[in-house]
């Protein structure tokens, strides 16, 4: 659906040239939800804008739905853009238009007749769950409702691809989840390819099938979300994964517990996919003369399965503890003994 080949973007600034996107090769499949994560300035914003020609690559090519977006101009580019929806962090609605008229705007651009516009707008209002708000102005809506208008507007011309530019970064956690659910729903119902950029690993975990981690204009790591969660290779990826699995406060709690309980061992267990359902804890208690104290645990669902971490404190006779840890190692569970550091 999307093919990016050796794309490079260099901006000329007062302080010399800046390479925002550096030799990126990427292909995104039809019907996929593909996430790109990175800190601000990583080049993800520039990269997503290349997909609808808001930025043109300095070198390389970008093909979306069979059109080489990086080459075409004028009418042809505008036609291509009508097949690529986009939603934004700050929604970018026209305050002078009602919800209905905002959603109708891309249809007006595409030259759809008034009667057909009305019909389509009604369908879209229902699809995004804004029934009854059609005649409100954006100023009268909450952030989540505004983003729903943004999504309806982006879907108006039945696009093949939906681009999401930090679409949930301005929303509170609860609203973020409802918008993410809506995106998954649209992806499943319409088979729409979704490309999103974000700096929140939560968003990736929740809805993406594959993820690319960007740093300094390059993709440093890429793969199915579950694999990246399981074995993050780059330090930056590890940091992002920790955003979801190990919040700051849990690290502090664990450090405190390690200090408070010098006897025994503290083990971090990582469950991925099917093994999340294995009763490993019960097993070690039954098999070995140890006591297990669960310190902290969290299981997260991703689009390709469950992912979780569990911190346990294993105490007892030193040799039994070692055996228990060895047993854990042999299971389909990644385990790691946490020590003072």
């Amino acid at each position: 659906m999307i093919l990016i080949e050796q794309a490079k973007k260099i901006f000329q600034t007062k302080n010399g040239p800046v390479t925002a996107v550096d030799d990126i090769d990427l292909s995104i499949l039809e019907g996929e939800i593909f996430g790109m994560i990175g800190y601000s300035g990583a080049g993800k914003s520039t990269l997503i804008r290349m997909l609808n020609g808001l930025e043109t690559p300095t070198e390389g090519s970008v093909t979306v739905a069979g059109r080489t977006v990086s080459e075409i101009k004028g009418v042809e580019l505008r036609k291509a853009r009508q097949e690529i929806g986009m939603i934004f962090q700050h929604f970018n609605l026209l305050w002078s238009r009602t919800v209905r008229d905002n959603i109708a705007f891309p249809l007006e651009i595409a030259g759809v007749s008034k009667a057909e516009r009305d019909k389509r707008v009604n369908e879209l209002i229902e699809l995004v769950g804004l029934d009854g708000r059609g005649d409100s102005y954006p100023a009268q809506l909450s952030g989540g409702q505004k983003q729903r208008v943004g999504i309806a507007r982006a879907l108006a011309n039945n696009p093949k691809v939906l681009l999401c530019d930090e679409a949930t970064s301005a929303l509170d956690p609860q609203t973020t989840d409802s918008i993410l659910e809506l995106l998954v729903d649209i992806n499943e119902r319409l088979g729409l390819t979704i490309v999103l950029i974000t700096h929140e690993m939560h968003v990736i975990r929740k809805i993406c099938h594959r993820v690319a981690v960007m740093e300094a204009g390059k993709i440093v790591e890429m793969g199915p979300v579950l694999d990246v969660f399981r074995r993050p290779e780059q330090p930056i990826t590890k940091r992002f994964v920790q955003q979801v699995t190990e919040p700051e406060e849990s690290k502090e709690t664990i450090r405190h517990l390690v200090e408070a309980h010098p006897e025994g061992k503290i083990v971090k267990l990582t469950f991925v996919g099917v093994s999340a359902e294995q009763p490993v804890i019960t097993d070690i208690i039954r098999r070995f003369e140890v006591a297990v104290n669960i310190l902290q645990g969290k299981i997260s669902q991703t689009q390709n399965g469950a992912y979780g971490t569990l911190f346990v404190h294993v105490t007892g006779n030193a040799s039994e503890v070692d055996k228990a840890v060895a047993f854990l190692d042999a299971q389909q569970v990644d385990s790691e003994v946490i020590t003072y550091d």
Binding site: N52, L54, L77, R78, K79, A80, R81, Q82, I84, M86, F88, H90, N92, L93, L94, W95, S96, R97, F105, P106, E108, I109, A110, Y137, P138, A139, R153, N157, L163
Partner: protein, 222 residues
Amino acid sequence: MIEQWFPNVDWGKMWEATLQTLYMTSISVVITFILGLLLGLLLFLTSKGQLWENKAVYGITAVIVNVFRSIPFIILIVLLIPFTKAIIGTIIGENAALPALIIGAAPFYARMVEIALREIDKGVIEAARAMGASTSTIIRKVLIPESLPALVSGLTVTAIALVSYTAMAGVIGAGGLGNLAFLDGFQRSRNDVTLMATIVILIIVFIIQFIGDTFTRKLDKR
């Protein structure tokens, strides 16, 4: 009672002068709006980072606008006498005031249009581009509607400035309330005529302000 306070006022003449002032103001407001909007759009679109970014066009337009905005109006009228004579055929009467009124006010309004357009969220323009809108669609359906309250309040300020410009134009023979106040009031030492003309001008200004404010409020859905 009014006859007592304003013994020298010829009401027929006052009414005629009022109509002349309204005529000059309304024609010049309409043309100033069109010209100012076009110039303002040109300034905005050719400025840095915009759709038609062009340093040369922006620079030249900005210089022209600044020059005409800086010339005091009374001097502008005199400078434009040959031009006025060439296109209107006379330098006396209401129509003769129009070129100077428009050339004086349009650059002033163009700057206000440019400022109004700059206030538009860049993201909204980007969203329209992402939807495949052409530049003309963006102008008609995004730039103008999204800046309309500011365009109207700017036009209100410009219209009020134009009322006072017509009074100045009146002094050198364009007719209207300024002409009446100067010739019948000041030069013949009939202070009541000057005062009445001033009152009428104030009423016109208040009405323009009221209409402008009402529209601005109605249009603003933010």
